[in-house]
Symmetry: C2
Subunit: 259 residues, 2 copies
DNA sequence: TGTACATCAGTGAACGCGCGTTCACTGATGTAC
DNA sequence: TGTACATCAGTGAACGCGCGTTCACTGATGTAC
């Protein structure tokens, strides 16, 4: 169900003319397509998703506006590429953070905090890209199926952490349960633990709350909803995640005394 | 610090020419300003915040585009009015829901669910208005100070519920605490309980998580991030709020057996 | 009660700007012989 | 190794559209006498 991480499908746009031959024009094509997408990302960073225009991208590259149509079918296609690449960038950031945490012996709450902090850091360094995927949908744009896989990468990392904790018997949510019937799709539960989806009831819903708080808190911070309310955003972010982790049955330890 | 709920400041734009006299032109002005704002809200509902244009509003009213400038200084002013009115609409919905819940004898989790459901219902009926205030900031637009008060209305309702539970001694968050130092502004804490801000440490942070989950879950639902994941959105929404309420020390009771 | 006048709502044209997309073209460049 | 040709990258003009905002105007309407 979930597509592979990594490549964005950019290259697959072009038809390989003769597979074994090496092809200078094709290489130029691919390189320039990349250049255009990178320029578009810069435009996005400066003017936001709603203000992204093909003409501005062309201008930035010192090229006439119609020239970019050699490489990009339409504005919508460009948006799709940017969305997929943003999801993939967030996803691989989170995956690396978790790997680093695991290989330094962390588990449980420490893995969660490592992943969550890496996503927040990414979001703060690229707020418009974060807003592109988690903010208001771009009007008139409908995300295609191909965004589903990349969008699932961070949730999958969180799932893996939950699964590992479950397997080592360290996880049992507080009682009473918030739900006794599953409120999620069988596909979603299967993606977490294929064999025993029944066991996830209640914990699965709590895990989605974790994901919601991770994204929601970053969104609140970036969009100004914590202004005049929260002083130390890094410490608050950790605290917010601890609240939900605790509610999932994680041992959250004692809070750091300093921010 | 927080301004009064209610009036939006629309009328205050106009200078009362002679206070005691009644003034037909002024009445016409106010009425037509309202008509324009209402038409703008309809435009917003159809095309989203980024697509909101004064010319489209004028067209909708069958009037030449320059005519609306008699009533509205600029597109930004119109946006500000719409934002304030959206916050106020959400706020008064939540306040009414809480009043109704209280007067039917509810407390604790039932009040929280009543308020939260009312906000979700509002958001589902007016998704673009919800996105206007909780989605990506409109590019090039900076929200003025006057939005702060209306934006705080729902959080204030939630605060009141927390305060009431605290006063009756029913609330003590799980241990360990997620923070031992306050991560919020003194103003924010004072707005919740003026006299004993120290006592709020840990609970205050958990309360902001409640607000984040309330808004974040609605946002996820409206923006499509629950597609292919959550089946029963109403039941999941309740469950998500129960997770955080439980983490605040509320007695959440048993989950409803049916969705 | 009637009339003159000041106010001001709405018009229409314009300015200067931006957008996505198409299309016939020219000239460089890679490829096949 | 040299040349002819097909490919195709990038140009420039254009189409048709939309936007926010300004400004001189005209004619209706409320007000003051």
């Amino acid at each position: 169900m979930l597509s592979q991480p990594g490549r964005t499908g950019l290259a697959s746009t072009s038809v390989p003319s003769s597979p074994a031959t090496f092809n200078a024009r094709q290489i130029a094509r691919d390189t320039l397509t990349r250049t255009i997408v990178d320029a578009a990302r810069d435009e996005l960073a400066e003017h936001g998703a709603a203000g992204l225009s093909l003409r501005a991208v062309a201008r930035r590259l010192g090229v006439v506006s119609s020239a970019v149509y050699r490489y990009i079918k339409s504005r919508d296609e460009l948006l799709t590429v940017l969305i997929i690449e943003a999801y993939d960038a967030i996803g691989s950031t989170a995956e690396s953070a978790d790997e680093a945490a695991r290989s330094s012996g962390s588990d449980g709450i420490d893995r969660i905090l490592a992943v969550a902090r890496s996503v927040r850091d990414w979001a703060r360094s690229r707020p418009q890209e974060f807003a592109l995927v988690f903010g208001s949908p771009v009007p008139g744009y409908r995300a295609p199926e191909s965004t589903v896989g990349p969008a699932a990468r961070v949730p999958m990392v969180l799932s893996a952490i939950v699964t590992d904790e479950l397997r080592s018997g360290r996880l049992s949510p507080p009682t009473p349960a918030v739900t006794t019937v599953p409120l999620t799709t069988v596909e979603a539960r299967a993606a977490v633990i294929g064999e025993v989806p029944g066991e996830l009831t209640d914990l699965m819903e709590r895990a989605i709350v974790l994901w919601t708080v991770l994204v929601g808190t970053i969104t609140f911070e970036l969009f100004g909803h914590l202004d005049n309310v929260v002083t130390d955003r890094s410490a608050y972010y950790d605290a917010a995640l601890r609240v939900v982790a605790q509610a999932m049955g994680f041992d959250i330890g004692e809070p750091r005394p300093d921010a």
